[in-house]
């Protein structure tokens, strides 16, 4: 293709026709829901999360009405406990985190000038899982069966089946399901940021929103798995009577608190950093200049992420910790204010240096920062352990966290809504309604939550369904209730504005005159995402690069065509975004939805103790996943490479560390390893809690060293067979590779048996004491992974036999090897711990 080929309007029209046909969404009553395009899935995701936010908000209004006056009996104690548990859980798990992921699914491809995310079907799977799990959890309140143990679910209250009913299981299993979908979306977003940037967009040219997506998705990846580990222990105790948190059997409720807050504190930054990311897009647009201090902001975001994993204990200052940990965690909690200060002052400096154009999105940004700063300052106060001893679990903390979350998540999101609505719908929202709504939200938030600082310190604990008049907090509570309705009126106004939008005319393109890539979006949007994938030379290409928009629109950059009628996007290198591959993307499919239904059935049926049915669901899930992978991934293209314009030709197939699939496997396994380390943490936590660990006695002596060492041996042999298979396969030894994979699968199956044989033959009784329980848990975890390892090896073998894997097209073999690397590490840690540590201890 010559440089001037795109001058021909007929050629361009033909290209556009092909692109349009290729990216045409499926039609029909059912088929339209099989779409996987990020524009569609992202919008469903956003609307669903928004709906859950409104629902959880109504729950809060009911609570505030109950608390308007002392000794009120509008809601029963039981009803109130369900309300606050569901309000917190929904806002965190069904609104804040999914909303970030939903918005990112819409925006990321546009920010990166990509046609779609690397795994569109994974996004769709995440969405359907989220919808099913979310409806399951939130719907429980209509059956008076909602969880009622608080969003933190502290045992032993929640693990004792005589004190808490089905709600606890609904929380654990329903939200575990959603956590899986959150991690899936995180994998998608990380690979998207790292591998799907346009040519030339080196890491330091990335829009800040993409940086924040990367940071937050990595945080999700490491924060959610410890909670999933905790969920596993929790349900083993609730459903099977194994002991982890019951002190009568050597357990300790504090372990749950650690696992919960190792998740729970990063969670706060997971829901806050995306708002800073929105500010980082909004502020430069309306200051009409580059954001000042780009490297400092990136460093601050990364620093916040690191620190956030080191201060979970400040949620546990009152649990009777040693003084040295109080001092350490107080210091770490204070320190996290510093990167936050840098980020906020970067915005001040940018506004100061620029020419400010006042607008509704900027009003929301500045107003929410004002609220957030107050929450941040009270955060500094509660980070001081002695002050926290007073404030902890009182309305002071309710005030603090709502200032942070409303100023740091909710109002910024509304600001983002006003900013990005034209990008998504092509229409602007009303400035007038937006401004009015802002002042309702701003006044309402302050009127609701400012008085709570006082009611808390005047003796009102959190999570009380009523309070006596003698505390002297009646006036504060009434003010809070009035404020809550004012705030709700603001939300209602925003909803009205959204509802009026379909009747409004389309706005001009790039109505805010922004400089970043996503504003290439046309009001009459096409589903192909971007006409041609540009070469990026600046952080604000629309402002800085000459004729940028015209060149993109006329297809003068890369990949302006869809000659083969396949959905495609460009994969580039991680650091400097050199083009590597044209990636063929998955198109519309019902398989993600069906897989989500199957996986959801496992969690939901287990909640109702229908174990055989949930086993059926598990088998169906496995079958669906394998079918999905078999039919939709690592497809051998009809030709090796294709031209993408400007004389550049890229391969259509990649395997190994440069491929997006390899990265997805690697990142997923990082999450898996993190969950595993949560379980190992449990083992050693109990060791520090007991003089005699392992204890001795009937049902507690085990698993011995023999079987764990056998299991370790065969696990490592299986690993070696897999690595050898990869190597000889790459050198053309197809038959030898097949034999090695078959042998590896047999060894993996042997590892399953040997792993379980240790605790089985020594008669470890998990209901007796925490030691046999945690040993069994580690053994089952590792054996189950060996089982999946065998499936991986057999899958690669079958792909080879079916001719879908060849020495040149060997992504399957390389990806399962990544799995087996992690499996080997898991086996080493597990079997050395359970086999040899008792001898050392």
């Amino acid at each position: 293709m010559s440089l001037h080929a795109q001058d021909d309007p007929q050629l361009r029209a033909a290209q556009e026709e092909r692109l349009r046909a290729t990216w045409k969404p499926p039609q029909g009553l059912f088929l339209r829901w099989t779409d996987t395009n990020n524009n569609r899935v992202g919008v469903w995701y956003t609307l669903t999360a928004f709906g859950f936010m409104l629902f959880a908000g109504v729950l809060a209004l009911i609570m505030r009405t109950q608390l308007a006056v002392p000794d009120n009996d509008l809601v029963s104690a039981n009803g109130f406990n369900q309300l606050f548990t569901l309000h917190g859980s929904m806002m965190m798990f069904l609104f804040a985190v999914p909303m970030f992921e939903a918005v990112s699914i819409i925006l990321l491809p546009q920010l990166l000038g990509a046609r779609d995310l690397p795994f569109p079907r994974l996004s769709a799977f995440g969405y359907w899982s989220f919808l099913i799990g979310g409806v399951f959890v939130s719907g429980s309140i209509f059956f008076n069966a909602a969880p009622d143990g608080g969003w933190f679910m502290y045992p032993p209250f929640t693990t004792r089946t005589d004190l808490s009913g089905l709600g606890a299981d609904i929380w654990m299993l329903g939200l575990s399901f959603i956590e899986v979908s959150s991690v899936a979306a995180a994998v998608e977003l990380i690979v998207g940021v790292l591998k799907c940037r346009p040519p030339g967009m080196r890491l330091n040219l990335m829009p800040l929103y993409a940086w924040y997506i990367l940071v937050v998705a990595v945080m999700i990846l490491f924060a959610f798995p410890p909670l999933i580990a905790g969920d596993i222990l929790f349900e083993l105790e609730r459903l099977l009577g194994w002991s982890f948190f019951d002190p009568a059997k050597g357990g300790d409720p504090i372990l749950w608190q650690h696992l919960f807050w190792i998740f729970g504190h990063p969670e706060v930054y997971i829901v806050f950093l995306p708002s800073i990311a929105l500010f980082a897009m909004i502020v430069p647009t309306f200051a009409r200049r580059h954001l000042l201090g780009y490297p400092w902001i990136v460093l601050a975001a990364v620093g916040t992420a690191f620190l956030s994993f080191g201060l979970w204990v400040h949620h546990m200052f009152t649990t009777g910790l040693p003084k040295i940990s109080l001092a350490f965690f107080s210091a770490a909690s204070e320190a996290v204010a510093i990167p936050t200060g840098i980020q906020i002052f970067a915005f001040i400096a940018t506004l100061w240096a620029g020419r400010v154009v006042w607008s509704v999105p900027l009003l929301y940004a500045v107003g929410s920062i004002a609220i957030f700063v107050i929450g941040g300052l009270t955060g500094v106060m509660v980070a001081i352990a002695p002050f926290d001893w007073q404030a902890h679990d009182t309305y002071f903390v309710v005030a603090h966290l709502h200032y942070v979350l409303i100023g740091g998540t909710l109002i910024p999101l509304f600001g983002g809504l006003y900013y990005y609505w034209p990008l998504i719908t092509g229409k602007k929202l009303s400035d007038r309604i937006g401004r009015t709504a802002f002042w309702f939200l701003f006044a309402g938030a302050n009127l609701t939550f400012f008085p709570m600082h006082f009611s808390g310190l005047m003796g009102m604990p959190r999570r009380v369904f009523t309070y006596p008049s003698e505390l002297g907090v009646d006036g504060f509570n009434l003010a809070s209730t009035i404020g809550a309705y004012v705030f709700a009126a603001g939300v209602l106004l925003v909803c009205i504005d959204l509802a009026l939008s379909p009747r409004r005319a389309k706005a001009e393109r790039n109505p805010w005159a922004a400089g970043t890539l996503e504003w290439l979006a046309h009001p009459d949007d096409e589903d192909w995402g971007i006409r041609s994938v540009p070469l990026i030379e600046s952080r604000y290409p629309i402002w800085d690069q000459k004729d940028f928009v015209r060149k993109v629109d006329e297809g003068r950059f890369f990949l302006p065509d869809a000659e083969e009628g396949r959905r495609e996007t460009i994969v580039t290198t991680v650091l400097d975004a050199r083009p590597l591959q044209v990636l063929r993307l998955g198109g519309p499919s019902w398989k993600p939805m069906a897989t989500a239904v199957a996986l959801g059935s496992v969690f939901i049926l287990t909640t109702y103790h229908l174990y055989w049915w949930s086993l059926v669901g598990a088998v169906a899930t496995l079958a669906m996943v394998l079918w999905w992978l078999w039919s939709g991934t690592a497809e051998i293209p009809e030709k090796d490479e294709k031209p993408i314009g400007h004389g550049m030709t890229l391969p259509l197939y990649l395997s190994g560390p440069s491929a997006s699939g390899w990265w997805a496997m690697f990142i997923t396994m990082m999450a898996d390893a993190t969950a595993f380390s949560g379980l190992v943490f449990g083992y050693f936590f109990f060791w520090t809690r007991h003089e005699d660990f392992p204890p001795s006695g009937v049902g507690m002596d085990g698993p011995g060293a023999f079987w764990p060492m056998v299991a370790l041996g065969v696990s490592l042999a299986s690993w070696a067979a897999t690595v050898a298979a990869r190597e000889v396969h790459a050198r053309g030894g197809v038959s030898a590779a097949r034999a090695l994979l078959a042998a590896g699968a047999l060894l993996s199956l042997a590892a399953v048996g040997a792993g379980l044989a240790g605790p089985w033959t020594t008669g470890l009784e998990p209901k007796l004491h925490v030691y046999p329980a945690i040993v069994w848990t580690l053994a089952i975890w590792t054996s189950a992974h060996s089982g999946v390892g065998a499936i991986c090896q057999l899958y690669a073998l079958a792909r080879s036999l079916a001719g879908r894997t060849t020495p040149r097209h060997d992504a399957d073999v390389r990806n399962i090897t990544v799995y087996h690397h992690f499996l080997a590490i898991t086996a080493i840690v597990t079997y050395l711990t359970i086999g040899l540590f008792p001898g050392l201890a």
């Binding site: 104690a77 406990n81 209250f157 019951d246 001092a327 204070e334 001040i348 100061w352 007073q390 003796g459």
Partner: protein
Amino acid sequence: MKAGPQSAFATFGAEAEYLARLTWWMVGGAVVIAAVVAAMFVVAIRSPEGAIGDRGGRRLLMIAGGLVPTIVLFALLVTTLPAMRPIRAEAGDLRVRVTGEQFWWRVRYQPAGAAAVETANEVRVPVGRTTVFDLAAGDVLHSFWIPGLAGKVDMVPGRTNRLVVRATRAGRFRGQCAEFCGLSHALMAFDVVAMEPAAFDAWLAARRAPPAVVADAGMRAFDAHGCAACHRVAGTRFAGQIGPDLSHLAARATLGAGIRPMTRANLIRFTRAAPDVKPGARMPAYDDMTDADAVAIARWLETLK
């Protein structure tokens, strides 16, 4: 804004006094910082383009965003570190073991060199002396919080946490459970009485003797309805351990763990319909109890002083 009996601003203990002072200092600092940041936003938005350059902007974010917070936070941390060290307790100090139960408090005084005294739902401390609370939990998590005296400490099943306090003035106050513990978490409070040392010693000595028990119809009804399965009354053969000790019930100001004044009407209602007053309480309802029995039991309980 009049501080009630359960306010961190109505202090009667050394630790709470320090924390109230610290609170006002930090609030003052926070107000100043919030005002300065807000003012900087206003100035930044109103100033013309190029009011500061790139270098000036970077200097602003380094100094105001990084350096100043670091100094302020470090100073705050260093000045508050000493407060993380508890008051030193001596071997001879009064020890009080408080166990949180759903939804009441088991209280056991253990003075050095004297017999222990068992009671419930009321905590008394001597002014000017060090008191050591050993805090435990009987069923689920609770948290022991007397805002006027000191910060809260959780009660964790399987662990014993310690809180050392020193009351500074006499008076009647209130404490409450601060860790969510179930249906009646909101209804789990207790009376707190700080007493001059001599008065405290006299009170504790009096509690060591059993109350003057009148063996009347109320006592027989108490027995007949099986109340003794759960409740202990010193000086009788009633020795239940599941529920609160009732030995000197009538000497307490409130009923049901700090939630109702100690009146006959409330005694009758609680005796017959405890689950209505306290949802989730382990005490069952006595729907078949006759009016006469309920009144007799209440009258008898009123004699336990």
